[in-house]
């Protein structure tokens, strides 16, 4: 080191211990805290939509129930399972990082990518169905069966929220896929070890967060008063 004042503090700088930290543990804690603060801003970002949803469902409960029942609950439930599986493989990738198993990190990241891809594929099929059924808000041909004319606009509100919320969620998934692809390339270079796997760790936090958003979206969008239709 050129700067002699640094030599006392940290003899050699490494990925696991940058000069500005006292210990590797402190660096790890700081990375995790930073990611959590970002996730809190994400909670507020999605929170606005959940607030809008709460207001409109409160105003038009019957319309929301009928519109919700037009969604495919079985596909939604299967997709929830797929996303939960991807969260499991993601946490296994982080565990492989903790143990310094470089090959297992890559294997579990690829599995996570796979399940994430299946989720997005199923979502695309569901969205396509909405187009075929004329359940797209703003469409001149918009018509939801079982509702009077004056309620069609309120049904469009439901589908606006449906597309905005699942769309924003899917956008986060696409970004997550990009992050995991980057991680796989980095892991192939062998830069992750038991001492340093922070990128895998914080990407895991992000992936699980996106999973938690879906955990709320699924019952709120797909499962409103399903018994009414039977």
């Amino acid at each position: 080191m050129a700067d002699h004042s640094l030599t006392n503090h940290a003899q050699t700088e490494s990925l696991a211990l940058r000069v500005q930290f006292d210990t590797a543990a402190q660096q790890k804690d700081a990375s995790q805290l930073g990611m959590w603060i970002f996730l809190i801003t994400e909670i507020m970002f999605f929170g606005g939509m959940f607030a809008a949803y709460t207001v409109y469902r409160n105003w038009y409960p019957e319309v929301f129930a009928i519109a919700s029942s037009s969604l495919n609950a079985v596909l939604g439930a299967i997709n929830t399972g797929v996303l939960l599986l991807s969260s499991f493989t993601m946490v296994m990738a982080v565990r492989a990082g903790q143990l310094g198993q470089q090959k297992m990190i890559i294997i579990f990241l690829i599995l996570t990518l796979l399940f994430g891809g299946v989720f997005l594929g199923v979502k695309a099929i569901e969205w396509k169905e909405k187009f075929d059924e004329h359940h797209i808000p703003g469409q001149a041909a918009f018509h939801l069966e079982g509702l009077k004319d004056y309620d069609q606009g309120h049904a469009q509100l439901f589908f606006s929220l449906y597309f905005a919320m699942t769309g924003l969620h899917a956008l986060h998934m696409v970004i997550g896929v990009g992050i995991i692809l980057t991680l796989i390339m980095q892991a192939k270079k062998g830069i992750y070890s038991a001492d340093y796997y922070t990128p895998v760790d914080v990407a895991g936090l992000y992936w699980h967060f996106v999973d938690v958003i879906w955990i709320f979206l699924f019952p709120l969008l797909y499962l409103i008063d399903r018994h009414l239709g039977k």
């Binding site: 543990a25 143990l99 999973d211």
Partner: protein, 108 residues
């Protein structure tokens, strides 16, 4: 060769595969449960049940998959603080919308 760094005792918590598999099974079971219960007429309680199951799933993911139970106190505080802000957003908004029809507007 003076090293001022204190070797902090940092416990590296590595959960077993069994723990994660158990959490996954619980999450999948709760997904099935919330789907099945939606077809049962519980009246106003159906939303309560759906949200209770969703919150349980969120806790499982946060505590185990996101390692919150092994996190520092500061991180835990940030997580709880974030949820508090979300509750302020939702509850204060609803105090307006829920009571609009019940309380007359002054001067009207």
């Amino acid at each position: 060769m003076s090293d001022h760094r204190q070797e902090e005792h940092h416990e590296q918590h590595i959960d077993t595969v069994g723990t994660y598999v158990g959490v996954l099974v619980a999450l999948l079971f709760l997904t099935g449960l919330t789907t099945a219960v939606a077809y049962v007429d519980l009246g106003a309680f159906s939303t309560v049940v759906a949200l209770a199951i969703a919150v349980t799933k969120m806790l499982l993911v946060a505590l185990f998959f996101m390692h919150v139970r092994h996190s520092t106190r500061l991180t835990k505080l940030v997580v709880v603080g974030g949820l508090m802000w979300l509750m302020i957003l939702l509850l204060l908004t609803m105090t307006d919308f829920v009571t609009r029809g019940r309380i007359g507007v002054p001067g009207k």
